[in-house]
């Protein structure tokens, strides 16, 4: 939808209406970008200047001190790797299990299916924010506090993703599969050679959304890790960097380092991500 409309659009004359709208657009965009720009500019100030009263937008003296300091404290590289490991693992597991489950619920029969589906839908209402304490004691009982497993596995059962893929698989014509069954293909073979390729856009949407959510997740990693070496970016920046007297320039540099990877990815894969977010959301309509 989005893509075709962009392609089709050709140069149009500047009508007064368009000029006014574009000016409004520029003004609003400036408001949205300003905080990020301010953070970027501040990350090139010295700590003294970053906490100066009154503040100013542009650094008087440009310095990469904050960025250097960030690397020298050492933890940030750990956090970056941890974030990457956790997000990649969560995304892979979520894609695998929710594709299988979505298909299973949409297209196979087994005893108790509708009851189970109902229970999974109930799971839409549960998150670490809602059930934090009992979830923590459960993970503690399993001995997974302060481990990668403890951070990853509880993020791997998102009912919402199963629901999205379930809805998608329901829309695939059954004839496609039946023809393959008659030719003697097994259930698994049909799944991998027919269903998965058809579902690629939906899977991409689920994958992108899961990655963003997991990379940015704060609450659960915050609850389950105390060891600074095991923290993810959002968690490390919020807790460790905030704890001994805030160094604003360094904090902004750290924050940008946590945020920039997704922003860069977004710039390159904008079309897919927009379609993905819209698709994930619209499935809930």
């Amino acid at each position: 939808m989005t893509t075709t409309q962009i392609r089709v659009r050709t140069r149009k004359p500047w009508t007064p209406g368009q000029i006014v709208l574009t000016l409004i657009g520029v003004a609003v965009s400036a408001v949205f970008v300003a905080p990020i720009a301010a953070a970027l500019l501040t990350s090139f100030k010295s700590e003294a200047e970053a906490a100066a009263i009154p503040p100013h937008w542009l650094p008087e003296v440009w310095t990469a001190q904050a960025w250097k300091g960030l690397w020298e404290t050492g933890n940030i590289t750990n956090w970056f790797v941890n974030s990457l490991v956790v997000s990649v693992c969560v995304t892979s597991v979520v894609l695998a299990v929710s594709a299988l489950a979505g298909y299973g619920f949409a297209r196979t029969e087994f005893r108790g299916k509708s009851v189970l589906m109902g229970i999974v839908m109930g799971g839409l209402m549960i998150s670490p924010a809602v059930l934090g304490v009992p979830l923590f004691t459960t993970v503690q009982q399993m001995g997974m506090v302060d481990t990668y497993w403890g951070m990853i596995l509880p993020q791997c059962a998102p009912a919402a993703m199963v629901y999205i893929l379930y809805k998608f698989f329901q829309g695939i014509p059954r004839e496609l599969e039946e023809a393959a069954f008659i030719d003697g293909a097994g259930r698994w073979r049909v799944f991998f050679t027919i269903v998965v390729p058809l579902a690629r856009p939906s899977l991409a949407a689920v994958g992108i959304f899961t990655f963003i959510a997991s990379w940015n997740n704060f609450l659960w990693p915050y609850m389950v890790t105390n060891n600074p070496d095991l923290m993810t970016m959002p968690n490390g920046i919020a807790t460790v960097m905030n704890s001994y007297g805030i160094q604003w320039a360094q904090l902004m540099a750290g924050g940008l380092m946590a945020g920039l990877p997704l922003i860069v990815v977004f710039v390159f894969f904008q079309r897919q991500i927009v379609a993905g977010v819209a698709h994930t959301g619209l499935a809930g309509q």
Binding site: K12, Q18, T22, G25, V28, S29, F32, P35, I36, A38, A39, P54, P55, H56, W57, L100, G104, F105, E109, L116, G123, L124, M125, S127, A129, V130, L131, G132, V133, T137, T138, Q140, Q141, L153, P154, C156, A157, E175, F181, I182, N216, F218, P234, I237, A238, T239, W248, L251, M252, G255, A258, G259, L262, F266, Q270, V274, A278, G281, G284, Q285
Partner: protein
């Protein structure tokens, strides 16, 4: 659930009515073989789901009837005491009030703002990708990073917001402004998501509706009131529901902007924050679990209300 399953089956028969009939005899046999044993498909997910969703929920229910502490041993059964205490705990009601107040402020603002941004981006003919990028980019930041940025922008003296607008407002240290600061940060940070949903919905409205209306002499205002707004009704319901559910779970931005404190005069302590304080600072796992269960019920009521509204509309509307 039932309706969507029903609709899909309907569409499928309409697609290939003739073929389905002739092939049905063989298909039934094959289907019996092929479509059975689906249990293996759902098993991996269900295992994770049982361990990390269902079991904690049941455990939470169990713990809420005990005086368990964080170490988990030596808990004894206390019946409904935790629930009784929670319902008489004015700090819990305050925290719930803060979360509700935040939700009440954020949800209408975000819905209207997302709609206006989408209308703007949809109607500007040039540089669509640029507007999308600008409005959506804050959503890509981790909650804590966005919160840190605004914490710094709002700090009295060194903050650029007061400086730019010539104010001296004590945003983060006065209880009449603290929640407002969190609301402003949240609008900036999350409106992009709802904006994209609206934008996708706007692009899904068929052009011929507008063209037909134009031929009938409807002006821009009429087209918006009689075509755009009705066509966006479903998505508005979705945006509002998702926002209510997300806003009630306020935690990240509030704690980070307030330096992990409950805010000036406890004014920004959210329900989630209070629950976690009880569990992890006071080590009262039993009590915290009771509050979690209460919270779960509140969330469930909101979600079920949405489902009920949807069902009513489907039965009445079409």
């Amino acid at each position: 659930m039932t309706t969507s399953a029903h609709m899909t089956t309907g569409a499928h028969t309409a697609l290939a009515p003739a073929r389905a009939r002739t092939a049905s005899a063989t298909a039934t046999v094959r289907r019996k073989q092929g479509f059975q044993h689906g249990g293996w498909f759902v098993a991996p997910f269900l295992a994770l789901f049982a361990l990390f969703v269902i079991w904690p929920l049941l455990r939470g229910v169990y713990l809420s009837f005990t005086d368990a502490n964080i170490s988990g041993d030596g808990a004894s059964f206390v019946g409904l005491d935790n629930y009784r205490e929670a319902l008489n705990d004015s700090a819990m009601w305050d925290a719930l009030g803060h979360s509700a107040y935040f939700t009440l402020l954020v949800v209408p603002c975000i819905t209207v703002l997302a709609f206006l941004l989408a209308m703007l981006a949809h109607n500007i003919e040039r540089g669509k990708w640029l507007w999308r990028l600008c409005f959506f980019v804050p959503f890509l930041l981790p909650s804590t990073v966005a919160a840190n940025m605004f914490q710094w922008l709002f700090t009295q003296g060194i903050g650029l917001i007061n400086e730019t607008f010539g104010l001296t407002t004590p945003w983060l240290t006065d209880k009449s402004y603290a929640m407002l600061a969190i609301v402003i940060e949240t609008l900036w940070w999350t409106v992009g998501f709802s904006f994209l949903l609206y934008l996708a919905a706007l692009q899904g409205i068929p052009d011929h509706l507008y063209e037909a209306a134009k031929l009938d002499g409807a002006n821009a205002w009429h087209r918006m009131v009689h075509i755009t707004l009705p066509m966006l009704r479903n998505i508005t319901g979705l945006v509002i529901t998702l926002q209510i559910l997300a806003s009630l779970q306020l935690f990240d931005q509030a704690v980070v902007m307030m330096d992990f404190s409950p805010g000036p005069e406890l004014s920004t302590r959210s329900f989630v924050q209070y629950t976690l304080e009880q569990g992890f600072t006071s080590y009262r796992v039993g009590y915290a679990s009771a509050m979690s269960i209460i919270f779960f019920v509140i969330i469930a009521v909101v979600a079920l209300a949405r489902m009920w509204l949807l069902r009513n509309r489907e039965e009445g509307g079409r």
